[in-house]
């Protein structure tokens, strides 16, 4: 799948760039983006599925995780803290802050207390 390998490269470039960025930002206190809604939801879904869902399935370490696993406030808090694996690492190990914000947007918009009326078809 052509697009996919191109994506990997982009992530590679982004990861390098973001390490620099994170390094810079480490000097400034990190605050969560306003309510995490302003990110890119479609991309957020992709990042979540690619980076989180692949491990967080039933009977996995850390358990199955879906957007319904937390409330909106809980998702915000989790991403604000940014820690993973019982605090042994940060989420930025997996995604850049921008990508994390996208993932948060997706999770926030589909959280267990989010207004998401069901509809017919996808």
């Amino acid at each position: 799948m052509k697009g996919f390998s191109r994506m990997r490269k982009d992530i590679g470039v982004l990861t390098v760039g973001s390490l620099v960025l994170v390094g810079l930002l480490a000097l400034v206190p990190l605050t969560a983006s306003p309510a995490g809604q302003k990110g890119n939801e479609t991309k957020g879904k992709f990042y979540f599925k690619q980076n989180c869902k692949s491990c967080h399935v039933k009977d996995a370490q850390g358990g199955e995780i879906t957007p319904l696993s937390k409330t909106q406030a809980q998702w915000q808090a989790y991403f604000a803290k940014g820690k993973h694996m019982k605090g042994t690492e940060t989420l930025t190990k997996y995604l850049t802050p921008e990508q994390l914000n996208d993932a948060l947007t997706f999770l926030y918009n589909h959280a267990v207390d989010s207004p998401q009326p069901e509809t017919c078809g996808k």
Binding site: M1, T42, V112
Partner: protein, 725 residues
């Protein structure tokens, strides 16, 4: 050789039957050599697409010709049946009026001058036009309307990748209000376990004509085998009314009064499920206080159903709980206050504790499917043109509000929309107030339609990109959620007859020319391969090809959400009798009854409904189905007909604020004297749909009105004058 001699030869041989059958199907006869050995008879399982139910079928194919479509007994949702439309799928495939090649108009829109073009030319043109609109008005200047199908997501994805926030879909003309009401109450829209119910109340939801599987079949079984009692409210004596134990020709728009009175009785007489309410629900105290005003006597005035009956039904209903249900219905595009009525229903169902119990409402179970990871695009940044956030903050965003959207687009506010892509939808036939739809259409710089037939909308398009029919297509595997979820497979049973393409390829063709290929960089086979990875059997694809459907023996499961720590997908985590979200958005947190608009003196309320042998507006041109109703008529009660001097079969004129039509009268006692009824899908403009040109189009009569909270079209709010011509 004379005809008798030919028949002698053909009797017992498959080929003769093939030719005769082909002729009966409307397939063009060609000179053929009579084969000595009949071609092998293939049985290919696939999934129907003649309506929303997606039943499983087995296509009998011989010599590359589809001879018959049989039900596939392995699908528990379709209960081993295939309805009139399913059987008529052969006519969709062999329809001489199918669009066989891409076409572009040469004359004016609607003039009917077409030229056949190559796919390259049609796709180039489409992409050019879309780009031109984007150039001038931004990507939000394009509108993407579609209806459900297994491939619909590709179309929607294209619109989004293109950068347009303006998607509008069929739920806004159908089930928007019921879905929103149940979503806000329970966090999900459940299915109704009709098979095991003992007491069923239905407002409209004419299930015996408006097929929803398995509810339709289960309703027949439950009521005729005397396992369930059916109380049915409808201004029309439909086939469901004919089978109901009690039918009340309720005054249209007053169903909420009936429901509130039931709540009044059930709560007042302590007939509700106290334990369920205290464990799982919030807002009961406010509800109890609120319904005190809605007595059965009051409701009798509103509904024109005696208070004696309302009282008795309320008591019988609560006695039968939890195997009692107030059936939610599906097409809820009725009144401006429809949402409140559905909320009333949801609340009533909640307090008798039928949630997640046998014979009650059951949250839909799912079967997990895998997902192909395709490259994501940037979400569109522009706000929607129908200004949903402001006008309908709680409505389902991706579905839009068609009637509001149309108003805005015609006004050019808040910004111009000048390009319109339509997939598997006929807005000209399907949306109320046809003149406005045509006005919106005419204002477009570009109209592109993807369809299988020359629908009324295709007739007015600039370019038509023909899709292959379901019998010619490989589609994504689809999971149908429900009490017994199923996974259905759709594979081609014949090669495409004409120069048509499946939607994914059409989307890829457009995407390539818009430099969006990277988002559609997969084949259907790759898509399906990812999906089936999640299925439990070895070689899932082989299984699906062979069986056409998969269902798991672990269902039905009841009570999976009935644990005290279960969090409902609502703001509070409980079943919200009083809805906090509604409150915060400035709507009534508990349903308040507003009487419907009075029918003006000398006029009639126009109501709509379904027949079991048609699917909305898309099947009226198939001869096998059309034979049951060669034109639509206006149902009118004998008394008002008499005073208007109208006799059965007279030609009459029906006029509303939107327009007028000429149609045949059907004088019948099967409808309230203050209502008239007409069937959908006739009075078509498109001359290719010759059999549907007769009768009249309800779209020309229906006025623009919408449900206040969901924005769903309100199609029973039109009053008409009738006169003999």
């Amino acid at each position: 050789m004379n005809r008798r001699g030919f028949l002698k030869l053909a009797t017992g041989g498959a080929v003769g039957a093939t030719l005769l059958q082909a002729e009966a199907c409307g397939m063009p006869l060609r000179q053929q050599k009579v084969a000595k050995v009949p071609a092998p008879r293939l049985e290919i399982p696939t999934t129907c697409d003649m309506c929303v139910n997606k039943c499983s079928l087995i296509a009998i194919v011989q010599g590359g010709v589809v001879k018959k479509l049989n039900p596939n007994p392995e699908n528990p949702k379709s209960r081993g049946m295939l309805c009139a439309r399913g059987n008529a799928g052969i006519q969709q495939l062999y329809d001489p009026a199918r669009i066989k090649h891409p076409m572009m108009r040469t004359g004016e829109r609607g003039e009917g001058k077409w030229k056949v073009v190559s796919w390259d030319e049609a796709l180039d043109f489409t992409a050019q036009k879309l780009s031109a609109v984007k150039e001038k008005y931004g990507p939000q200047g394009t509108l993407w309307s579609s209806s459900e199908s297994f491939q619909e997501q590709f179309f929607r994805n294209l619109g989004q990748a293109f950068g347009s926030p303006n998607s509008v879909r069929h739920p806004t003309l159908c089930l928007a209000s019921v879905n929103l009401a149940y979503s806000l109450t329970f966090g999900t829209v459940p299915s109704f376990d009709v098979q095991n119910a003992r007491y069923i109340i239905m407002s409209g939801a004419n299930r015996l004509e408006s097929f929803i599987t398995p509810d339709t079949m289960d309703l027949v079984a439950s009521t005729t085998d005397r396992k369930a009692r059916l109380v049915y409210l409808d201004p029309r004596f439909t086939k469901t009314a004919a089978k109901a134990d009690e039918w009340y020709p309720i005054r249209p728009g007053t169903d909420l009064a009936f429901i509130l009175a039931m709540l009044n009785v059930i709560i007042g007489e302590n007939r509700y499920d106290k334990e369920f309410v205290s464990t799982y629900c919030s807002g009961f105290e406010q509800l109890a206080e609120h319904v005190k005003q809605y007595s059965p006597d009051w409701a009798a005035e509103e509904t024109q159903i005696s208070s004696k009956h309302i009282l008795r039904v309320a008591r019988e209903f609560s006695d039968a709980a939890p195997r009692a249900m107030y059936y939610a219905g599906r097409r809820s595009s009725w009144y401006r206050d429809d949402f409140s009525m559905r909320r009333g229903q949801a609340i009533l169902n909640a307090i008798i504790g039928n949630w997640d119990r046998q014979g009650g409402m059951v949250p839909n179970a799912k079967v997990e499917l895998g997902e192909l990871m395709f490259l994501p695009w940037d979400d569109p940044t522009a706000p929607r043109v129908d200004e949903l956030d402001r006008n309908f903050p709680l409505a389902a965003k991706g579905d839009g509000v068609y009637l509001r959207l149309r108003e805005n687009v015609i006004a050019g506010q808040p910004y111009p929309v000048k390009g319109w892509m339509v997939y598997k939808q006929d807005p000209v036939s399907g949306i109320p107030d046809q003149d406005k739809t045509l006005q919106m259409l005419r204002q477009m710089d570009f109209v592109g339609v993807i369809d299988i037939q020359m629908s009324d909308t295709a007739w007015f398009a600039d370019v038509i990109l023909p899709e292959s029919t379901y019998l010619e297509r490989l589609d994504p595997v689809e999971m149908l959620a429900g009490i017994r979820p199923v996974v259905v497979y759709r594979q081609p049973v014949v090669k495409p007859l004409y120069d048509t393409k499946p939607l994914l390829e059409i989307v890829q063709g457009v995407a390539k020319r818009l430099n969006l290929s990277q988002y559609f960089d997969y084949t259907m086979e790759q898509w399906i391969a990812e999906q089936v990875k999640a299925l439990p059997m070895d070689l899932p694809l082989e299984y699906l090809k062979k069986h056409g459907v998969y269902s798991s023996a672990q269902f039905p499961k009841y009570g999976t959400t009935l644990t005290p720590d279960h969090r409902f997908v609502t703001k509070s985590g409980k079943i919200e009798l009083l809805s906090r979200r509604l409150q915060e958005a400035g709507y009534d947190p508990l349903p308040i009854y507003h009487p419907p608009t009075q029918v003006p003196e000398g006029q009639f309320r126009l109501v709509l409904g379904r027949h079991a042998f048609f699917t909305h507006a898309s099947t009226t041109n198939y001869p096998w189905l059309n034979s049951f109703s060669t034109e639509n008529t206006l149902w009118i009660h004998p008394k008002p007909a008499d005073s208007l001097g109208i006799k059965d079969s007279d030609r009459i004129e029906v006029a509303s604020g939107s327009g007028s039509i000429r149609i045949k009268a059907r004088v019948t006692p099967k409808i309230r004297p203050d209502c008239v009824f007409m069937q959908h899908g006739f009075g078509k403009h498109s001359p290719w749909l010759r059999l549907a040109n007769s009768g009249g189009s309800d779209a020309q009569l229906l006025e623009t009105a919408w449900d206040k909270v969901s924005g769903g079209a309100a199609m029973h709010e039109t009053f008409v004058k009738v006169r003999k011509v």
